[in-house]
Point group: C2
Amino acid sequence: MARWSPDARGRLERAALELFVEQGYAATTVPEITARAGLTTRTFFRHFADKREVFFAGDEISAFAGRLLADAPADLDPVALLEGGLRQTAAARFDGRREEVRRRRDVILAEPALRERDAQKRDDLVRVIRPALVARGVEELEAALLAELTVLVLHVALEAWLAEPVERPMGEVVAECFTRLRGVLTAGDVPQV
Amino acid sequence: MARWSPDARGRLERAALELFVEQGYAATTVPEITARAGLTTRTFFRHFADKREVFFAGDEISAFAGRLLADAPADLDPVALLEGGLRQTAAARFDGRREEVRRRRDVILAEPALRERDAQKRDDLVRVIRPALVARGVEELEAALLAELTVLVLHVALEAWLAEPVERPMGEVVAECFTRLRGVLTAGDVPQV
């Protein structure tokens, strides 16, 4: 086994996903993952803290969102900023990888420990976006709503995109979500309770 | 100990919340809860499957939402229906109980098993609202967005209501959330990516 392993991290991630799909997350061990990847357990633990992290460590949407929010022009409308950020995220991280994303989603749904970690990831994203909006001058309640709404659209758009018979750019689905939200929220009367 | 115990269920729920606040959820046993309530373990298990359910069994927002959606006039605008439903829920289940709701929320946040159950409750609510909207003729993507948005507003409005220095009707916070969402979504330009 070579001491220097090009793309060790990617090979471990792909091997783990294959094994999780084939035999389930719970039944898969770290030595099985490293054997499939042709690498050592030592190499595994240089990249990942544990079996669960091989599945989530590369998934740095929160960090990406943080950079995006920090770099955006101060006068950009917050919804335009968030919609633009989601469309960039969709293009960079999901387009062209639909089968892999779907397999990954199915593994997560089948395993409570992964569902919990996935929910935590969503909370992390809210916790990055919300204070960044407040720092841009967005009022507190509005910042809370917009941060949660961004994560909501990411989630709903991803599910809709995975369910469509033919793959198209996920950013189109994101744009459609915002268009529909705008339409439906402004269409109705304000209710009388 | 009387065989017939008026409001046994409520007494068990209050005793459980008291003990969870005093000594933590994990450290509290069912016999401690029944002793505090002055009831038998047998009575406990007539009302609840386990310690976790004493905390969630009375919390039937999903059932309430299902009835509300089934009974609403067919031509009512979906957002008006959902906003009205949230304001009814707020008035019926939260107003006047802020300290209890806050203590309960703090117990949930401190305990992973309760957080998971709480997240599942939110998913349950989405799963009730979404098909009910589709049955009312709302398009699939819009129904998914609105169902998630309803749960989002419930969550954000509850947090904001709990954080305010003086208690006011929670329905006012719900209405403010919808007003802000309408305002912010229609204020900006459609982004160019």
